[in-house]
Symmetry: D2
Subunit: 438 residues, 4 copies
């Protein structure tokens, strides 16, 4: 039980003076360092995901598994599941993260019947609870895997067959029970099969209506359970489906508002999904935050030249700075966090690569946090932006912004004041200012 | 006044037996032919846009104008503007379309003052009204150009300067007056500069709030005018802005619902914008229709391998069939129509190319109409789709679809009925059935 | 041995009058029908690929297998391998195709040692040979799978470790032996792992040099074997690698010419790879053909809105027409063919979907063949293209085209003849002419 | 003559301690600072392009000009052309760059005849020569604009009409004369119209053959002139054409090798074109360098979420580091340089934005230079890459790399040595090492 799965690797140290090759130490992440009034740990709320880091095999559409883990015998037994979980908690502790996330189907083997599957979940979450208590690591969020099983191939909540919808509901109900048991701080829905492959066989409105009703039932069940965490929907435009209904932040916000669900749900934004939807890296985080809907972040990245989800560890400081700036501006993500929905490359086959990748990403976001705090504390960039919009603070601008004027009144204003000037947008100036910080 | 601008070109004939080289005749568009109870003309409601077809010069970011029109001396005079308009109406009549569309700034030269500009508009629309009466050609919709003038470089309704917002309001007010004067059946907003180039200098929430208030004022002014046509917003994801707030159909629907505008506005969908947003050609038309928000269509196409708006004439029969199927299913587009927001290639420099391009596109949509009608009248494809969703007509499925059940009840159902089967989605079967018609 | 794997399905009939639902019959493919002097069968040379159609499981990066075949017990035994092969030949015969293709690792299980693996291959190809003789189905091409095994994760011929390169060579050598044994008419190389994931750890020049030397050794071994088929390289831009060295047709042609290999290799073009490289569907086929390098075609399609290889069955008649036009113009593909490197959607789980998908694609290419033949036999489009370039047949144009003039002489010509005119490119006219045929 | 066009702006200072708002000073570019044995100025060889910076108007496909320059009256007169040129040289000097680049048609107005156009060029280049001498600013390269005039709408060297090809040759001949006169260190060809818009009207092989012959004539004329600079081709995949023949680095290398031109031409790589072709930012620079074909760099950037050429000023330090690393490794770019083929955003309307944008980019590349030098001088990353490929230094690996072995010998090797291992590719480790430097 107290086996060491990562022999020879101690708790990852903070070593700011480390050299380029010293990739097994933090150079920037110092959890107790205070930044803008909170510790780095409190702002960043890093989480490791179980699926990629402990169930990822390195298989891809053209290749077999490459990631062989000494504790994993490849079997679907409970014993194997428990070893994986123990290895995971050792990893969390050595890495120094305080949160983890999981899908129901990652942690426990599926049984021959739903009853057996649920018993497996009960047993494995007993162990998870024990390990959480022992280590202090908490559950950031749980989620149901409604996409891997063949039964969901045509969708879960949006399946053309009501029997499948019922089955998905049953699975989510159990997963919400588990989430409560483990003290999860949120519950996430990612609908990879909620969408279509060909419009020719699809009744879009029926599917969306059923999906909305599914979310309503989840919200009702949450209340019954007394679960106080956030319910979160994670947008993704496509893959595996050709089109997914939760395309991007604004699409989900539109869906929630249309079906009267916007008080019950927030968003879990993943930048790799944002870029696949054709936006800039930080776009959906900023939009969701502007609409008061940003609940949590799956901090990863893709390659801009690739058209599928690569779930890479985020290593770009400028992007991390933009994300953290939005988070600081909304006062933090709590109860959400920064979950690393990332996988080591299938060629990164060493156990040490599991650490190196997370360390690199945590350092990147730590730099992002420090940079964003510097930007906000300096006040130079925010001040110039505020000045740019200052005409909406008074006079006719204030009326426009508060919805208290009319075309007729604005016409009068223009008749009196003539044509506007057009001051420079100064994009390159802003870019240069940003480069001062990154 | 009765000059012939297209000498040697008569009214385009319907000649179903024409050969491949006979591209100056319709082979499919027979306006009075009855299809599913209406004439082709009534279903298709074709419209020619003034901007591309009479103001397009063939200039592109790397090249000078190529399209030299004999009636256009290149000047900004009223006389030139009037010749253009007369040429346009001759073109509409010879082509055999019943509708046209325009931007305020296309039809009349901008004066040195707003007052002069508006006088020019009054004078030119007197002529337009006369030509409309004489020819029977009607105005499908008018729209304000809020993107070409330098004053709008940082946005119109979403500009960081309230003075610009006021100016834009003044311009739209006048354009709505004109629309009423000309009996326009709709009024369109396309916000090419409503968005951002860099998030670094942008306050997204202020911009969106102002934009929403702008739309509210437009709706109020519409009521005051007694204008009964539809107000339409046209989504586009990007270009000229890096990000445009009206990204795609679902984004605009979300925006409208968030700001309580969804009863006042519908959508004008352009498939070239849809594909730039990363969707399939017909996607936004189907989504907008499903949500009851499809008002009109800018029927054009892009090249799937290009990342900018090419506004090509639509020549793909399968795409046209999918679009027309959605239109037939919602009972037509009226008061909207199929506006050709297309431009001849800058290399297509002959006057005949103006006709050939429109004829080709009209024939393509006529084939699409006949195909879609055949699909619906046969009932084979629709019947199979209906069957696919039939479990939502009764029992537990009906309860799901009507929002009358709960996770608990669905769990009971699954406990009793076990795991679902997963019938084939049969995509290739549907594709083959579709190929039967196109 | 004479078990029927597809009970209830007879040889697919030709039934040109079939209705929309009749997707289990050919409406266009009539193998013995004469088109431009050859039978459809001779022009089209259809081939079924073993990997997708008999080893595809429907698994995707987010989902488990969905395609359960009654003859396949999921084991890695020789008995299972043989059942699959028998099922495949029954499928080929019932479908009515004359060719098949395979990877070495698809047809026979990998053993614990290379020797055992090769013995498995020998045994299974004895059966394949027997089935080929019995059915008359022939091998269009064989290829080595140098991408699925973990040993190739960092590349095969371009691996940073010479031991892996040696191993890949050993595998290809055996596969070429087998190809000769089965009378394969070509041998294909697809280098899905020949490329890089990050430039940071990559020495591009060493990798390309080694890859070129690998191809030289293959060409030398081909000569030694007396193999007379074509060696073919299949371009793909990315996926699984971030960048693949065989990006597209022109990249491979450049590589072959740089390393002096262009007499030894031709190209196997897959349009789904072409579109992923940012080109139009038919582009690489036309470019490869223009350079005399088009050897064979993997006839499939992707979705233009998706950024990964979906290997869908090609169902677009216009695309098929363009491909066949290029093939007819170069006098056919022989010894290459049209190999369906396509997979049924993972939701298409019925055995009948295997047939429906191939039938739909074969019909699509049959329509493409008939359309292309009509275009060439009519001569209207080709004649207008020829006329467009006619100035290069005589005078100064002929000198330019033959490389027999100079800037000085051309300057004299312009001094004498002045500025050129610029006739219309007439794109829409050509598009309309094309629509006459499709 | 000695008018000051940029009153109030002095020579841009080097002020390493400047704050975020201090965007009118260099914080990193210190021209005489020694890095790896040369001054920063010698390594970086910065150049300002005349077309964007002095002829750019801010017009885009949806908007009118926004960039009003006090010295430019908008006329096509020689006096205006001369003022622009004087303003440009003042700008070069104040900015502190030593090189400029131009198109023939940027610097002098086109006359009514070719003779007049050429006289204008003679006159304006007299002034340019004078200004070059006076300021010490030199010409990095000249190029012919073969894309803006309507006569080139269907291509220049690849035009279907031989008369246009002759005209283009005449224009290039004159431009090469001018290049010699001004002591240009290179001559560039960018073929924005060499390609096609629709394959339907295009004879690809004729066009490519003519284009190759055109390049042969240019090389012959270069020899006749005794011009010793490099001839450079600049790849771009698309825009304005749908497909451009010079798609990317490898495509051009293939073309040059096919037509026997690879000794006469090198490449001018623009990363914004590279990313439009679907590659990573630095990819074409690294490929061109690996093949010994990297001649010069157009240092700009695009937005990864946009599908057209935005020609933005490069502001990303990591990208600049990768580019400079490749340049340092090949021993510099000389006689090429880093030409800013960038334009201020059309919203950046202040004269100061012209400086801010260049300063920001020069600082970014200066950081890139210092980072790249640190990487190479530390030797940690290069050492680990070298080690990764070390098996090709001896034994069987050396034979593979030198092309001295065979499939048979490699089979023997594998028979003796068994299966290879597969060491980790360590991508995240390399990424973390890189982050140490940027």
């Amino acid at each position: 039980e107290d086996a060491t799965f990562f022999a020879g690797i101690d708790k990852i140290p903070f070593r700011p003076s480390g050299g380029p090759n010293d990739t097994m130490a933090f150079r920037h992440y110092d959890p107790k360092q205070i930044v803008m009034g909170r510790t780095m740990e409190e702002w960043l709320r890093f989480s490791v995901c179980f699926w990629h880091t402990f169930r990822g095999t390195g298989a891809d559409p053209f290749g077999f598994p490459t990631l062989i883990r000494p504790w994993d015998d490849g079997s679907d037994t409970m014993a194997n599941a428990k070893r994986r979980l123990r290895a995971a908690f050792e990893f969390f502790v050595k890495l120094g993260v305080k949160y983890w996330t999981f899908h129901d189907r990652d942690i426990a083997p599926e049984g021959n019947t739903l009853a057996e599957t649920n018993r497996n979940l009960d047993e494995i979450t007993d162990l998870a609870l024990e390990l959480q208590k022992k280590t202090g690591v908490k559950c950031l969020w749980a989620t149901s895997n409604l996409f891997a099983s063949p039964k969901y191939m045509n969708g879960a909540a949006s399946n053309p067959d009501s029997h499948v919808v019922a089955f998905a509901a049953t699975q989510v109900k159990k997963c919400m029970d588990i989430a409560v048991k483990l003290g999860a701080e949120n519950f996430v829905f990612w609908g990879g099969r909620e969408g279509y492959h060909t419009i020719l066989n699809t009744d879009v409105l029926t599917e969306l209506t059923n999906m909305a009703n599914f979310f309503k039932m989840a919200a009702a069940y949450k209340k019954k359970l007394g679960f106080t965490g956030n319910l979160l929907i994670e947008p993704k435009p496509k893959e595996p489906a050709k089109h997914q209904y939760d395309y991007d932040a604004m699409t989900v916000i539109g869906f929630l508002k249309h079906f009267g669900l916007d008080k019950e749900y927030k968003l879990n934004i993943e930048p790799n999904h944002t870029t696949l939807a054709g936006h800039g890296y930080e776009h959906d985080i900023i939009m969701a935050s502007a609409f008061g809907m940003l609940g949590s972040v799956d901090s990863n990245t893709g390659s801009p030249d690739l058209g599928w989800d690569t779930d890479q560890f985020p290593m770009d400081t400028k992007n991390a700075t933009l994300v953290l700036k939005a988070i600081l501006e909304q006062g933090g993500l709590k109860p959400g966090g920064l979950n690393f929905d990332c996988k080591v490359r299938r060629e990164s086959t060493d156990l040490r690569d599991m650490f190196i990748s997370h360390i690199g990403a945590m350092d990147t976001f730590s730099r992002g946090l420090k940079n964003a705090a510097a930007i906000l504390e300096d006040g130079v960039i925010p001040g110039q932006v505020k000045e740019r919009y200052s005409s909406f603070q008074t006079g006719i601008g204030e009326k426009i912004n508060k919805g208290q004027t009319s075309f007729e009144e604005l016409e009068e204003y223009v008749t009196k004041n003539g044509a506007p000037s057009n001051p420079s947008g100064r994009q390159e100036h802003y870019e240069s200012m940003m480069n001062h910080y990154v």
